[in-house]
């Protein structure tokens, strides 16, 4: 159809779409709102609940939802709502901190490998091949086993492994972009490599990595909860959703569903929020990119 639409027609269409206001992107709007609410609840947790996250009240243990404890209490009599709210702090951190670290390192390494090619690329890609050959979770468990359990070590473990996906995504895109004429033009104009990579190549190839960031954040939250569930994450009595599920698991059979279901729902909500943001961003950036 390219031959049919005259250039002015095509450009007019893109201008109109690109300047489309944010509120016309329902996925992004809903996702961002949801995430903002969760973050708000996490930040203002102390104002929203009279209990502390690790305050035990053994007299009130194993209580189903009630007015005093809307989501019931756990086996130590801790308020499940309170723990879910405080847990959001840690889980959002799990979603964002290691993902951000892996995003930056992965994008950087991928860009360098893709742009320079040659030996750097070969070495990096061999490392990636080796890392990919191991099952992801087994690798993580092995690293944490060496470093010892805990939130910080979990972050380190994820950071050591998680950059690979970003590096692969970005490298592939850069391999294409480095031969684009605007990059060649930048070279002939005598621009430095750093300027070309950060100013010209990356802005044009970063979109898929940003979109992946959002789904990766969800994956990392799930991974974090899974590791906590295995006892490799933050240690008791820290309020963390995965840990809460693990602790409540033994009481499911006795019908005390709230100890596991509520943190599970919290994971779901955050997961949906990130996914929506990812979808919305993909949509937004794709429209803007249409040349």
């Amino acid at each position: 159809m390219a031959t049919i639409q005259a250039a002015p027609a095509a450009s007019r269409a893109t201008i109109r779409e690109a300047s489309r206001p944010l509120w016309r992107n329902p996925s992004l709007l809903m996702g961002a709102t949801l995430l903002a609410i969760v973050a708000g609840l996490a930040i203002f947790a102390p104002l929203l609940t009279p209990y502390g996250p690790i305050d035990q009240d053994l007299l009130n243990a194993h209580k189903p939802p009630s007015w005093a404890h809307p989501f019931g209490t756990d086996n130590f009599g801790r308020d499940v709502l309170t723990r879910v709210l405080y847990g959001a702090r840690i889980d959002l951190m799990i979603g964002l901190v290691p993902t951000a670290i892996t995003f930056v390192t992965g994008v950087l390494l991928g860009a360098i490998a893709g742009y320079y090619g040659g030996k750097i690329d070969t070495i990096l890609m061999r490392v990636v091949d080796v890392a990919v050959a191991f099952p992801f979770i087994v690798l993580l468990i092995a690293i944490i086993a060496m470093l010892g359990p805990g939130l910080r070590n979990m972050f380190i473990a994820i950071a050591l492994v998680g950059w690979i996906s970003y590096a692969r995504i970005v490298r592939g895109e850069v391999l294409v972009a480095r031969n684009a004429e605007y990059v060649l033009a930048a070279k002939t104009l005598g621009f430095g490599d750093a300027r070309i990579i950060f100013g010209h190549v990356l802005p044009n190839v970063i979109t898929p990595a940003i979109v992946f960031f959002m789904s990766d954040a969800v994956l990392n939250i799930l991974l974090g909860t899974a590791l906590s569930f295995l006892g490799l994450g933050p240690q008791a009595p820290t309020a963390e959703w995965g840990r809460m599920i693990q602790e409540g698991r033994q009481f499911i059979v006795s019908g005390e569903w709230w100890m596991t279901t509520i943190p599970g729902l919290a994971i779901l909500v955050v997961g949906v929020a990130f996914s929506l943001i990812g979808d919305g961003l993909a949509d937004l950036l794709r429209v803007e990119e249409r040349v």
Binding site: A7, P8, S11, T14, I15, A180, E181, Y182, L184, A185, A186, K187, T188, L189, G190, F191, G192, R195, G199, H200, P203, N204, E289, R290, V291
Partner: protein, 348 residues
């Protein structure tokens, strides 16, 4: 006479050599691409092959002249152009600019030469960074090379845009908001921003419609007159090349087979390949008058991975002789600025 100034009149006397001090001298430039990891060689299961894109090209360009470089796709003309602007590092050979070695590894010299040698690209849709406004793109060039004080950049950008026939007010737009012809003008403005001396125009008008193509060709010729630029004009369209160039070099499979003044190459092509090329071009005047009945060349160009021995054109050449299969003819001066690499002519 096509040109007010005719530098090639004296310059192109003996083809390869230009009289006086040449601006650009390429000697035996070779660019081979190893195909060990390429998809092509994997498909063909032939590891360790080499694509001989440019296989020994020598060309001398005088200041102020426009040399056209023509040939069919895959003949290496783009690769050679990219070697000149140092987008590619030649495998071997020598490139001199005003007598200075371009292939030096001294960073300061490279930087200085980069400014003097610019390139205009083929695709007006991909040669501009889609995420930068025109003003930002041109401004960046000025900033990087500290070509003018920060506060004078907007004025200078406006001046550059006007020089290529756009208005200064267009600077705030993104490339996607321009038509193909306008984008090509922006690409030209960007190349001009660094005050270059020599410009390699790689199929710079090929993607444009004829009415727009003529506008851009006129712009390039006007800029050359005003700024005293020297051009290497790479294109597959012989008509355009003949119009804009002083001399035309014809490339086939990585080698230059003929160099001639633009005024004669259409009427007196020497090399059998040039003859075939000239004949194959549909021409309005001949189509409307008498039909050209000479047979076209048969078959497709061989792969630059597997170049024929001797003269690389011999498998398709209607005049091929036994010697053509074994001995590669060198470029030989035929007088009148005509140089040809063919055993049919003396000296080769």
């Amino acid at each position: 006479m096509r040109f007010a100034v005719e530098p090639s009149e004296g310059a192109g006397r003996n083809g390869v050599e230009a009289a006086g001090t040449p601006l650009v001298e390429a000697r035996d430039v070779v660019k081979h691409f190893p195909l060990t990891q390429g998809i092509v060689s994997r498909l063909q299961r032939r590891p360790g092959e080499v694509l001989k894109a440019v296989d020994g090209v020598s060309l001398v360009i005088a200041p102020g002249e426009t040399v056209g470089l023509v040939g069919e796709s895959g003949c290496g003309k783009t690769t050679f152009g990219r070697c000149l602007v140092r987008l590619y590092e030649p495998t071997s050979g020598e490139i001199r600019f005003r007598g200075e070695d371009v292939l030096t590894h001294d960073a300061a010299t490279t930087r200085r030469l980069r400014r003097s040698i610019q390139m205009i690209f083929q695709d007006p849709y991909s040669s501009l960074n889609p995420r930068k406004t025109v003003k930002a793109a041109l401004g960046e060039v000025l900033t990087v090379h500290r070509l003018c004080p920060e506060n004078e950049i907007p004025a200078r950008v406006g001046e550059l845009l006007e020089r290529v026939g756009l208005s200064a007010a267009m600077g705030d737009r993104y490339p996607r908001q321009f038509s193909g012809g306008q984008r090509q003008r922006i690409g030209i403005a960007r190349a001009l921003a660094v005050d270059p001396v020599f410009i390699v125009a790689d199929e710079a008008v090929s993607a444009l419609d004829v009415s727009i193509q003529a506008q851009v060709i006129n712009l390039l010729m006007r800029l050359q007159e005003e700024m005293g630029l020297t051009f290497l004009f790479i294109a597959h369209n012989l008509g355009v090349v003949r119009h804009i160039s002083n001399r035309v070099a014809v490339m086939y499979l990585g080698k230059i087979v003929e160099i001639q003044p633009a005024s004669t190459i259409f009427d007196e092509p020497l090399h059998p390949y040039t003859k075939a090329l000239v004949r194959a071009i549909p021409k309005l005047d001949s189509a409307l008058g008498a039909r050209d009945t000479v047979a076209a060349i048969e078959g497709d160009p061989p792969s630059p991975i597997d170049i024929p021995t001797g003269c690389r054109f011999h498998p398709r050449c209607p005049y091929a002789m036994p010697i053509c299969q074994t001995v590669e003819p060198p470029l030989a001066d035929q007088g009148g600025g005509q140089t040809v690499a063919c055993h049919l002519y003396p000296g080769s």
